[in-house]
């Protein structure tokens, strides 16, 4: 099985695996004051310091959560209190569903946020919380964050950035982005599933926790922290940020092969080096995914959480592209090789030729 569905979940990085297993062998609860508890607490606080530093934030602003979905929900409930919520039209379901009915900021055909529309929306009412993802999970398109942040500041709005797909795949400096909060997920970086974080900018705090009780995380998130997953998260981010060979050449090779077989690449401008949204006009995405699965290639038709439903891509719909039902997402994991790309290219060409013949 060749795994090209990294945006659903990254393979666990070896350093993350070691850190998680080491943490699992610690007996203590990080809230306990005895030696075993202090040992666990050191692991927790060390992870907090390292993750915050890697993203240009401060450890005091980092709240560990169960994952990216909870981090986004905590930001929206916690920073959005008493504010209008505005969401980018191509946001992840975790954001869109946490702010039901929120006006959506349109994007253009390349997937870039419409800054004029954002300006208008911001001018139309009271203080807002704007939610924009740094990099899109389906297309990899990277948002023009400093400009978005500047507009938000001009209108007294707060900016929450879903950095779940961006973290570990591009350099992130919270201050340079101008974000008031960042949502992160450990397993999208190559850490274990079960940990994420909300990183709050200096001076920002949440109104009330989603999960109350116990006083952990400075009262912002109750419950014993998921120590193994958190330790693995920190190790994964560290490893991801150590200069690794860029995936862009492999991605470009995969895209070139797909284009040669008749595909169109959705999304343009700055993109993550690992993500391609490949449309095959007239060929249903679920059929493409199943054919590739049978050929031993794991890709997806969209976000993993909704993939059971094989729904249309709301991302491509929002971009105004007519390919919402016929695009697949190819997302290269950190350990992708050129042999994987060659196998993908061959399987894709075979699949495309056969399916287009059937569709014709």
């Amino acid at each position: 099985m060749i795994y090209l569905d990294a945006n659903a979940t990254e393979p666990l990085r070896p350093a993350a695996r070691q850190a998680a297993i080491a943490a699992m062998e610690l007996a203590g609860n990080p809230a306990s004051i005895h030696a075993a508890g202090r040992q666990a607490r050191r692991v927790l606080e060390d992870a907090r310091t390292r993750i915050a530093a890697a993203l240009g934030g401060e450890p005091e602003g980092l709240v560990f959560t169960s994952g990216g979905t909870e981090a986004n929900a905590l930001a929206i409930a916690g920073l959005g209190h008493g504010r209008r919520i505005l969401c980018g039209a191509t946001e992840h379901a975790a954001v869109l569903e946490a702010a039901p009915g929120a006006p959506r900021i349109p994007v253009d055909r390349d997937g870039a946020l419409d800054l004029g529309a954002l300006d208008t929306l911001l001018a139309q009412g009271g203080p807002a919380l704007v939610c924009v993802m740094l990099a899109n999970n389906e297309t990899g398109v990277i948002a023009a964050m400093p400009e978005i942040a500047r507009l938000c500041r001009q209108h007294g709005a707060l900016l929450h950035v879903d950095a779940v797909q961006a973290a570990g795949r591009m350099t992130i400096d919270m201050a340079a982005l101008g974000a008031d909060s960042l949502a992160l997920s450990g397993h999208k970086i190559g850490g274990p599933k079960g940990a994420g974080a909300l990183l709050l900018a200096r001076g920002r705090d949440i109104e009330a926790p989603l999960i109350a009780g116990g006083g952990q995380e400075r009262g912002r998130r109750g419950g014993t922290p998921s120590l193994p997953a958190i330790a693995g998260f920190a190790a994964a981010l560290h490893e991801a940020q150590n200069p690794a060979p860029s995936l862009a050449p492999l991605r470009d090779a995969a895209e070139a092969a797909a284009i040669a077989a008749g595909a169109l690449v959705c999304g343009a401008g700055p993109r993550l080096p690992n993500t391609s949204s490949l449309a095959l006009p007239g060929v249903r995405a679920d059929g493409q995914v199943i054919a590739l699965d049978l050929a031993g290639i794991a890709v997806s038709a969209g976000a993993a959480c909704s993939s059971g439903k094989v729904a249309r891509s709301h991302v491509l719909d929002a971009m105004g592209l007519p390919y919402a039902a016929c695009a697949i997402r190819v997302s290269l994991p950190w350990n992708a090789t050129s042999a994987h790309i060659d196998a993908f290219a061959a399987a894709y060409a075979t699949m495309a030729a056969r399916m287009r013949r059937q569709a014709a």
Partner: protein, 375 residues
């Protein structure tokens, strides 16, 4: 280091770790990626784990919602049930003064959402007076939350009698069974429970995973704490951490198989500890979970005892509040004075406690207790 704080957290059983390891390496798929084989493989493992969790408490796998832990489960059960019924006539939410902080906070937080928190006292033995509950239930009540076994004292509430009263009143019964599950026989049908919260790391599983039992017949309706993605029947969005879920499943399987054996051994270790201690102590609360001892050392201060035994991991109470200077809310609710509460240590014996751990702990504490407390 002698670890006797098994109510704060338990060491991960090596068998649990072994079961999790493949999911930390080769089998890393997202269990929601139904479109490819790796995703389906992970989904199958999660479902097998769900079945083990359900089996431990006599539930159907479809009744089990995976969460990040018991704190989240408690929040989801209490706030979720209240928010779903927000438009209904029942406003009262009843719980006990000795519940875990996350239950008390969840119940109290609901006051801001127009519910009426009702916190019932307990007796000196830590038990709820059933007449008090009967009285409280005269006001139409939505939900009663009573933990099966207390995390500081091990006191076991009479859930069978409580369930009878709660159901008669037409209310839901939630139980935080984080300390009871896998240690004492617990069956959601006997007595009939509406909602029950489980923690992975209290039963030799990993931290970061828990479960909420949500009865389907008759169906208990909840609103999610947060939205996005639709996983877990819409009750709990977010990617299920498959390795942690596998670990919880294995922990439940082992507990179901070895519960009797574990508890007999732990009860013997408890008796041995009390016998070897050789200094006068008072055990707080009615008999309950043998592995949880709330011990008062008259004339001593618990913090001094802990400081005098740096190789011994025991606690003054709940881990969540262990940095607090305030006396334990559980002990004060049982009528202990602040001084008596400050003289109390929690000793938690677990599956991996050896007789030599017990002997060493007893002699360390006995020696420390003979040191006169500082003025």
């Amino acid at each position: 280091m002698i670890y006797l704080d098994n109510q704060a957290t338990t060491p991960t059983d090596p068998r649990v770790l072994d079961a999790m390891l493949p999911w930390f390496a080769r089998d890393f798929g997202n269990p929601h990626s139904a479109e490819h084989a790796m995703g389906r493989h992970a989904a199958d493992a999660v479902e097998a784990a769900r079945a083990e969790i359900a089996a431990l408490i006599g539930a159907d796998p479809r009744d089990i919602v995976l969460t990040s832990g018991a704190t989240e489960s408690n929040n989801l059960a209490i706030k979720g049930a209240a928010r779903f019924a927000a438009a209904g006539p029942r406003r009262r939410i009843i719980t006990l003064a000795t519940e875990h902080k996350c239950v008390l906070e969840s119940v109290r937080d609901l006051a801001a959402e127009n519910f009426e928190p009702c916190i019932l006292p307990v007796g000196r033995d830590g038990l709820l007076d059933l007449d008090r509950l009967k009285d409280a239930l005269r006001t139409p009540t939505l939900l009663v939350s009573v933990m099966a076994v207390n995390n500081e004292t091990g006191v076991r509430q009479n859930l069978a009698a409580i369930a009878g009263l709660v159901h008669e009143a037409g209310a839901l019964l939630h139980s935080d069974i984080a300390q009871a599950a896998g240690k004492l026989k617990f069956d959601v049908e006997n007595p009939r429970i509406s909602l029950a919260s489980i923690s992975g790391h209290k039963i030799y599983g990993p931290k970061g995973i828990g479960a909420l039992y949500v009865r389907r017949r008759p169906r208990v309706r909840l609103s999610p704490l947060f939205s996005g993605g639709g996983q877990e029947r819409g009750l709990r969005p977010g990617t299920i951490p498959a390795p942690l879920a596998v670990g919880l499943g294995e922990a439940c399987r082992i507990a179901a198989a070895e519960m009797g054996e574990d508890e007999a051994r732990i009860a013997a270790l408890r008796a041995r500890f009390l016998e070897r201690l050789g200094v006068p102590v008072v055990v707080n609360g009615a008999a309950g979970l043998p592995g949880c001892l709330s011990l008062r050392f008259p004339g001593a201060r618990a913090l001094d005892l802990i400081a005098a035994c740096p190789t011994l991991c025991v606690s003054t109470g709940s881990a969540c509040t262990s940095a607090d200077i305030a006396p334990s809310h559980v002990l004060t609710a049982m009528g202990l004075s602040a001084a008596d509460a400050a003289a109390t240590l929690r000793v938690g014996i677990g599956r991996f406690t050896s007789p030599s751990d017990i002997d060493a702990a007893a002699s360390l504490l006995a020696a420390a207790a003979h040191i006169p407390a500082e003025a």
